[in-house]
């Protein structure tokens, strides 16, 4: 398929106009997988279980070189998670996520819904158990991780049934999640991260401590990265209704620096705790966002 016709590489807003979440996610995943040589999520776990004989097509990186040296036979190492990954998608449904900087773009929530659906579809196709937790000030939807038929539809339904919330309490949702995830697995957080960083990091660190692999998608509208607007404007936080009068042109440079520092702070903190952090703008094609996972 030519790259220009792949849905995963088109503008997200244009893709979203093609149909519902399912259609979009399927189209994106089809295009995305067509451009990959292997599954993006294989080999996350380090839980070694057994050896098996090498078969053509196996990846060479899993070849056990010691056995090869001693016995001149080809064996590959197998990992437990490789065949039974449990993934949980956390989606921030707070009020701030229902915002977009321009009418022609998707809201952060709409972008996150479609991205979550695509990720879930990829995981389920790999026969990985996948669940969903949506939250704002409290947990709104919780769909446990399963791999059975119809799970993806349930996940999509869960996304659709989650209304736009008011505030954000990521810490509470993450703590709830730790109780649900008895086995180590993969946690994917889709959020604009407009909440207290230290509290959220405490919860994420706890997940890491429990052995989970954690991936954070920091969603941001391009208008949030570069300040613009009328000469003078009163900006209001949709969650707290706190407002502030500014002249965007006067503050744009300092604001951009602040945003860059904030992103850098998240990235540094996540790296320090072994958390994968990805900054995603809502005008980024879904395929590009998915590729960050590989």
């Amino acid at each position: 398929m030519p790259a220009a016709q792949r849905l995963d590489l088109l503008d997200p807003a244009d893709v979203a106009r093609l149909g519902g979440i399912e259609i979009v996610a399927e189209g994106v995943v089809e295009g995305f997988l067509a451009g990959l040589h292997r599954s993006p999520f294989r080999g996350f776990s380090l839980e070694f279980t057994e050896h098996r004989a090498y078969q053509p097509g196996d990846e060479l990186r899993y070849l056990d070189w010691r056995i090869l040296a001693r016995s001149d036979r080809l064996f590959v190492k197998q990992f437990e998670e490789e065949t039974n990954l449990r993934a949980m998608i956390l989606l921030d449904a707070s009020r701030s996520m229902a915002w977009r900087g321009a009418p022609e773009r998707l809201t952060k929530r709409a972008y996150a819904d479609r991205l979550a659906a695509a990720v879930a579809l990829i995981l389920l196709r790999q026969r990985d158990a996948t669940g969903l937790l949506t939250f704002d000030e409290e947990v709104r939807q919780l769909i446990p991780a399963r791999v059975k038929t119809g799970q993806w539809t349930r996940l999509v339904r869960g996304l659709l049934d989650t209304p736009d919330g008011r505030g954000t309490a990521a810490q509470a949702a993450l703590q709830r999640l730790t109780a649900l995830l008895a086995r180590r697995g993969l946690v994917i957080l889709l959020s604009d991260l407009l909440f207290d960083r230290e509290l959220a990091l405490t919860a994420l660190r706890y997940l890491r401590h429990r052995g989970h692999q954690v991936i954070v998608f920091h969603l941001m509208d391009p208008a949030e990265a570069d300040l613009g607007g009328p000469p003078e404007v009163r900006f209001r936080d949709p969650e707290s209704s706190v407002s502030i009068v500014v002249r965007p042109r006067e503050l744009a440079r300092v604001y951009a620096d602040t945003v860059r520092r904030e992103i850098a702070a998240w990235r540094t903190a996540c790296r320090r705790h072994g958390i994968a952090y990805h900054h995603v703008l809502t005008d980024m094609p879904f395929g590009v966002a998915l590729r960050l996972l590989t």
Binding site: E224, R234, V242, V246, T258
Partner: protein
């Protein structure tokens, strides 16, 4: 500091605009949702001090910019350098100015190939052109009329000014101009005198107003003096035109030509009198029939053409009918016989000559008998004559400006004539021949025992003038300043008089006053040559126009504002 356009200072109210706009804009900002407000708050917290300083600086710069631009528009004047020619950036405080442009006939004199008026007009033009809209300006020409109006209108008047025919009393004009400018409540008061500064124009009085009140009078120094002579006066009497030469050239005889009806009828040389007196020449005029006659005395052209010709007019009356009483004596009878023979008089009683006044025109002689003097005086009083014979007077020669033929004739016996009225001739300074209406009185009898007149050659002409002109009443000829011409006055179909227009004879004397004389006469005027005059114009109130510097400052402020507005974002 003062301003050329003080009304523009009203624009200073606009200095409040930046602050008002700032407040107005702050009241109605649009409201938008913006989730990452925490980032924005952090950015604002970090920039608060810088933005506050920036806003304050911009407000200050914009307000100052408006103030500076308004001040520049008002054209502020700051003290300038005295003596510096006011070029482009130099101005002066509001000044009340009277420009006196002397376009009297003498301004038409040509000096060094250029009319004097051209130089005066250029200086007047420059004075008016240097005035501003904040000044009050007037123009006075030789006619003495004070002309107000806009600078442009006055400049047009100056440019259209030509040499006139009216003499300017410069002293009175400066005095009046000084009072005029002083009435204006302005910082500066100046009078610019653009005149040839004729000595004769400064001869009468002194202008005290400028000196007393501190008005600055600048007088353009006179140019190179030139010699000139003109026809000062022409009078026709007893068949001759007596021409007086006026002017400053009294070294050479002046050829005078008399013209009647465009034809030369006489010519003579007017020779300057020894001792500096004006040259006078008498040119015979051919006898004319009774009626009004007009002629013209002409000099050869010189530097001033306006006074080279002068009209004159006279009336030739028909022969008067005269009757002499026996008491008038044989000399009178003999002279009348001669005049009758020459058709100068006829028999009749239009004029009576005798010891007592007749019912009409009379020439009354003193009685030979002193005892009858009282009776004669009563008769005169009865006729309402304000003269009477008094005590005998001392002998002496006759002096008369009007009756030249009897000048110097000795009188040995006479009565003093007491009273008030017109004196036609005197002896030893006392009235000897007087007139009161239709009555003419003599102080001596026409007898050789009283005077040498009957034996003098001028006796017959004297009697002719007495009966034909003096007692009959001379035709009224008035004189006025103006372009040379004669205008007759009519009563019904009769011509009863004439007005002779000509320039004032004093205009012929082009001798300029010395600077000291001009300064003294014109209230302490500063007499300056052309260059100094240009330098001193408005020098007392000269100020440098600071608007140029302010505009430069405004540009710098605008650049600073632009820099602060763009670089500090």
């Amino acid at each position: 500091m003062s301003f050329l356009h003080p009304l523009a200072l009203l624009g200073l109210a606009a200095a409040a605009l930046p602050a008002l706009l700032h407040l107005f804009q702050r009241r109605t900002p649009p409201e938008l949702d913006f989730p990452p407000l925490r980032y924005l708050s952090e950015a604002e917290r970090q920039s608060a001090r810088r933005l506050k300083l920036r806003h304050l600086l911009l407000l200050l710069l914009r307000t100052t910019l408006i103030v500076v631009v308004v001040l520049a528009a008002a054209r502020p004047l700051v003290p300038g350098v005295r003596g510096a020619e006011g070029g482009g950036g130099s101005a002066h405080q509001p000044t009340a100015l009277v420009v006196i442009l002397d376009n009297s006939p003498s301004s038409g004199a040509v000096v060094d190939g250029r009319p004097v008026l051209d130089r005066l007009r250029d200086a007047a033009h420059a004075s008016l052109a240097r005035s501003t809209s904040a000044d009050r300006v007037w123009l006075v020409l030789a006619d003495g009329v004070v002309r107000g109006g806009s600078r442009e209108a006055l400049l047009a008047s100056v440019d259209n000014t030509t040499s006139g025919w009216v003499r300017l009393d410069l002293v009175a004009a400066v005095d009046r101009a000084a009072r005029l400018v002083l009435a204006e409540p302005l910082p500066g008061h100046e009078v610019h005198v653009l005149s040839d500064l004729q000595r004769t124009a400064l001869a009468v009085g002194r202008a005290d107003a400028p000196r007393m009140r501190g008005v600055r009078v600048l007088a353009l120094a006179a140019g190179r003096p030139v010699a000139n002579r003109g026809i000062g006066a022409v009078r026709v009497a007893e068949g001759a035109a007596v021409v007086s030469i006026a002017g400053s050239d009294d070294t050479e005889p002046a050829p005078v030509t008399i013209r009647l009806r465009g034809r030369d009828v006489g010519r003579a040389l007017a020779t300057p009198q020894t001792g500096g007196g004006a040259a006078v020449v008498s040119v015979t005029v051919p006898p004319q029939l009774p009626g009004w006659w007009a002629g013209e005395a002409v000099l050869e052209p010189d530097e001033l053409r306006a006074d080279d010709r002068r009209p004159f007019v006279w009336h030739v009356a028909p022969p008067v009918r005269v009757e002499a009483a026996p008491a008038s004596g044989p000399f009178v009878a003999a002279a009348l016989a001669v005049l009758r023979e020459g058709r100068r008089v006829a028999a009749g009683r239009d004029v009576v000559i005798g010891d007592a006044p007749g019912p009409g025109r009379s020439v009354v002689l003193p009685p030979a008998d002193p005892a009858l003097v009282g009776q004669a005086n009563r008769a005169l009083a009865a006729r309402g004559v304000p003269w009477h014979w008094g005590a005998p007077g001392t002998p002496g020669p006759v002096a008369s400006a009007d009756l030249g033929m009897i000048g110097g004739v000795e009188v040995t016996r006479r009565y003093r004539l007491d009273g008030a009225g017109e004196v036609l001739a005197t002896v030893n300074g006392e009235p000897w021949l007087v007139r009161a209406g239709e009555i003419v009185l003599l102080g001596s009898r026409p007898d050789t025992a009283w005077t040498a007149l009957p034996a003098a050659p001028g006796f017959v002409p004297f009697l002719d003038a007495l009966v034909n002109r003096v007692v009959a009443g001379e035709a009224e000829v008035a004189e006025a300043e103006g372009a040379p011409r004669v205008e007759f006055r009519l009563r019904g179909a009769d011509t009863v008089g004439a007005t002779l227009f000509a320039p004032d004879a004093r205009e012929s004397d082009l001798t300029p006053a010395t600077p000291e004389q001009a300064t003294a006469a014109l209230g302490g005027a500063e007499v300056l040559d052309d260059r100094r005059f240009a330098l001193e114009r408005f020098a007392g109130t000269r100020r440098a126009d600071a608007s140029g510097a302010l505009l430069v400052l405004a540009l710098l402020l605008a650049a600073a504002e632009l820099g602060v507005a763009t670089l500090t974002r």
